[in-house]
């Protein structure tokens, strides 16, 4: 065993006794003396062993109920292990989520001091950093307002601004990104990067496989309390996807509506967005290579060709692009065989979108005509992460340079003067 393991977990077991009738009164205990035996044992963690070296960013993935959060809570001392051993070297951030300890009846200022105390920050230190926290959260005008009058966004910003003040060498995070808008998620990602640079150890529980692929050095997969896979994030997320049988079309987030119509003579089998690593990624970076894949299947064999239309729409409804590709059974290279099925790829070498939420709508329609075979609105919902400064709808990817005056084109100054006067006459 090397000495630089921040976390060492060996044969860890955790069981929960789930009472079959959820009565917790003394009367029940007295009147049902044998009731104590009426519970079900839930093995939340079974024989889990792994080590995390210092400075590693590790993602824990798995289905709901696979033991991810339980594992995190055992690591954070919140749950007591029932077997095995856990040893932690270094300070652990005492928070698993944002806004722990916030009280709606207290003001932002009072909450910062209370929650900051839980984080382990001293009073003097909090006073020193108070303006930074409030500034980061953009809440200067609401310092003495009660938290209950804050919007969710304001509260999350305050919580995040405070949480990043922690000194902990080991950070534990449970679905931190489940909350907040694009701007907030962007801040989260930026902070992750800073933590990575600082060499802090991060344990991260999430459902967002794209984030795991992008930020984690390593991932572990839990299934029914067992550690079933451990390795490079791309491999582990692929295994996980395989285990839950995610078809490409399932990449939408739960609860978000899709609309679908068409004659279904040609069927969209699935739509997915792939990131740079070739793995599904719903948080692509601006400027990175992305690919949309559309699986199709021709049901009516009389159809020899069709048109594939792909729209990218920003969340506020702005149409960013509409592009189409005629697909012919025989004409397009690399296209499907006699089976009448295939995958259409749409590659963007350099994603020009700025940060924000976008959706992909896809339609397969008659080559010459308006009848839709299959149309899916919101086939993919994705959020672009933008690390570069700048404003605007797109990032055209221009390059800047500064050169000596000599090498500038002759007549350049005339143009400058002309535009400077603003008269617009071409008299000179």
């Amino acid at each position: 065993m090397s000495t630089d393991h921040a976390i060492h977990v060996e044969n860890l077991y955790k069981r929960f006794r789930i009472p079959l009738d959820r009565s917790s009164t003394l009367k029940h205990r007295v009147t049902h003396p044998r009731a104590a035996s009426r519970f079900r044992i839930l093995e939340a963690l079974r024989d889990v062993s792994f080590d995390v070296p210092e400075g590693q960013f590790i993602g824990i993935i798995g289905h709901n109920g696979s033991g991810k959060s339980t594992l995190l809570k055992v690591l954070a001392h919140i749950y007591q292990p029932d077997g095995g051993r856990v040893s932690i070297k270094g300070n652990i951030s005492p928070f698993l989520e944002l806004g722990v300890g916030f009280n709606p009846e207290l003001t932002a200022r009072e909450n910062v001091f209370l929650s900051g105390a839980i984080l382990g920050l001293g009073r003097a230190e909090l006073r020193r950093r108070f303006d930074d926290v409030i500034g980061f959260a953009e809440l200067e005008q609401f310092v003495d307002h009660k938290l209950k009058n804050f919007s969710t966004g304001m509260e999350v910003r305050l919580a995040f601004a405070l949480a990043i003040q922690a000194h902990a060498e080991i950070l534990m995070m449970d679905e931190v990104l489940a909350v907040g808008d694009a701007a907030f998620q962007q801040k989260c990602f930026d902070t992750f990067k800073r933590y990575k640079r600082e060499g802090r150890t991060i344990v991260f529980v999430t459902h967002d496989l794209g984030t795991v692929n992008r930020y984690c050095d390593r991932a572990i997969l839990l299934d029914q309390g067992r550690l079933v896979a451990d390795g490079a994030p791309t491999e582990i997320t692929a295994t996980y996807r395989g285990s839950i049988g995610v078809s490409a079309g399932d990449s939408r987030k739960v609860g978000e509506q899709i609309e679908r119509w068409g004659t279904r003579e040609v069927l969209i089998g699935g739509v997915r967005l792939l990131g740079e690593t070739g793995v599904e990624d719903l948080h692509p970076l601006t400027g990175s290579h992305v690919r949309v894949e559309i699986a199709y299947e021709i049901k009516n064999m009389a159809i020899a060709d069709f048109l594939c239309v792909l729209w990218i729409v920003r969340n506020d409804g702005t149409l960013v692009s509409e592009e189409s590709l005629p697909v012919t059974q025989y004409g397009n290279a690399g296209l499907a065989s006699q089976s009448g099925a295939g995958v259409i790829r749409y590659d963007l070498a350099r994603l020009p979108l700025r940060k924000g939420g976008y959706r992909v709508n896809v339609e397969l329609r008659e080559r010459r005509g308006q009848s839709a075979y299959d149309h899916i609105d919101r086939a993919v919902l994705f959020r672009v992460v933008d690390t570069q400064p700048g404003q605007g709808l797109i990032s055209p990817g221009g390059t800047w340079s500064v050169v000596p005056r000599d090498s500038a084109v002759a007549g350049f100054s005339d143009i400058a003067v002309r535009s400077g006067t603003g008269s617009g006459d071409a008299g000179t």
């Binding site: 000495t3 292990p81 095995g84 051993r85 040893s87 009073r123």
Partner: protein
């Protein structure tokens, strides 16, 4: 990690050294929690903090009218009014501290499930909240009492310090015990409510131990010239034993001696029979009886703290 340190790890559990933070940090956290709870208690009320002063004053008014004016409860020692006020302030602290600290764990479920810190902080912080109020109220009683000349401070007053510590340790011990049970059995809350009601009458808030003994004595010695109409029947003398063993009774009694008037005797001397010098016989003679309140405080605190320690490891999953 070397093999040597690996052996030091308990076979099942978490390395103690890995606990986050330091004592100083936990002290700071306790104070922050106590201060915010104190603020929260009086939000949404017009009078705010004034209520913590008004409530004991009101109780005092009621108790005084009923027990002193109506039932003539008086043991003959001076400044009986301020003695009752002192009893009320002590009692208010005890009942409030145990009741709020009991719910502190269940009331912080979110915090316990999502963050790590020593769980005892929750109970201690809740007890501090009541302690703030108590210290202010007690100071007010002393200042007002001194102003109207009903407080006599002297060397005996120094005894107030260990007495207040004793009271706090008792309240904290009970709070630990109740809080650890309350997490799973909310019945404890209802039971304790009834029990505090009973304890109120057994803690000498509105009468002194001497007063109780006077009743018991007169019940035993029938030949006395002045038989009060409401003497304690002989079959109830056991009540005296219990009352005399009650630490709250002892604390209130001794605080009266220490702060209000040296004429009110120390509980210890009352119980060990020094009153016999006055020519009175009473049922308590053994010195052991006199030690009972102190022993009880230690036993209660020990049991409470140990119970809490054992059960707090599972709060997060039982809540």
């Amino acid at each position: 990690m070397s093999a040597a340190t690996a052996e030091a790890i308990p076979p099942s559990g978490i390395e103690p050294a890995s606990a986050t933070g330091s004592l100083r940090h936990y002290w700071h956290l306790t104070l922050e929690l106590a201060i915010s709870q104190f603020k929260l208690r009086y939000t949404q009320s017009i009078l705010g903090y004034v209520w913590s002063l008004l409530k004991p004053a009101m109780y005092f008014g009621i108790t005084y009218v009923i027990f002193v004016d109506l039932f003539h409860v008086n043991d003959g020692t001076p400044h009986y009014g301020i003695q009752i006020l002192l009893g009320i302030v002590v009692w208010t602290f005890f009942s409030e501290c145990t009741a709020t600290a009991m719910g502190a764990v269940a009331g912080s479920a979110g915090l316990i499930r999502k963050a790590y810190f020593p769980r005892s902080i929750l109970v201690v912080a809740a007890s501090f909240t009541s302690l703030f109020t108590f210290v202010i109220n007690l100071s007010l009683v002393i200042v007002i009492g001194a102003a109207i000349g009903q407080i006599s401070l002297g060397v005996q007053s120094l005894a107030a310090i260990p007495l207040l510590i004793e009271l706090y340790v008792l309240a904290l011990g009970i709070a630990f015990f109740l809080a650890s049970l309350h997490v799973q059995f909310h019945d404890v809350g209802h039971l304790w409510e009834v029990f505090t009601n009973l304890l109120f009458y057994g803690s000498g808030v509105m009468f002194s131990l001497t007063y109780v003994l006077q009743r018991a004595h007169f019940a035993a010695v029938v030949t006395t010239s002045s038989i009060p109409a409401h003497a304690l029947p002989a079959k109830f003398t056991w009540v005296v034993d219990i009352v005399a063993a009650n630490p709250i009774m002892q604390v209130i009694e001794d605080l009266r001696h220490a702060l209000v008037t040296p004429v009110a005797p120390w509980t210890f001397s009352v119980v060990t029979g020094h009153l016999a010098a006055v020519g009175q016989v009473h049922p308590l003679n053994a010195s052991w009886d006199a030690l009972a309140p102190y022993a009880l405080v230690m036993v209660i605190f020990g049991a409470g703290a140990l119970t809490y320690r054992a059960r707090s490891r599972y709060f997060a999953q039982n809540l």
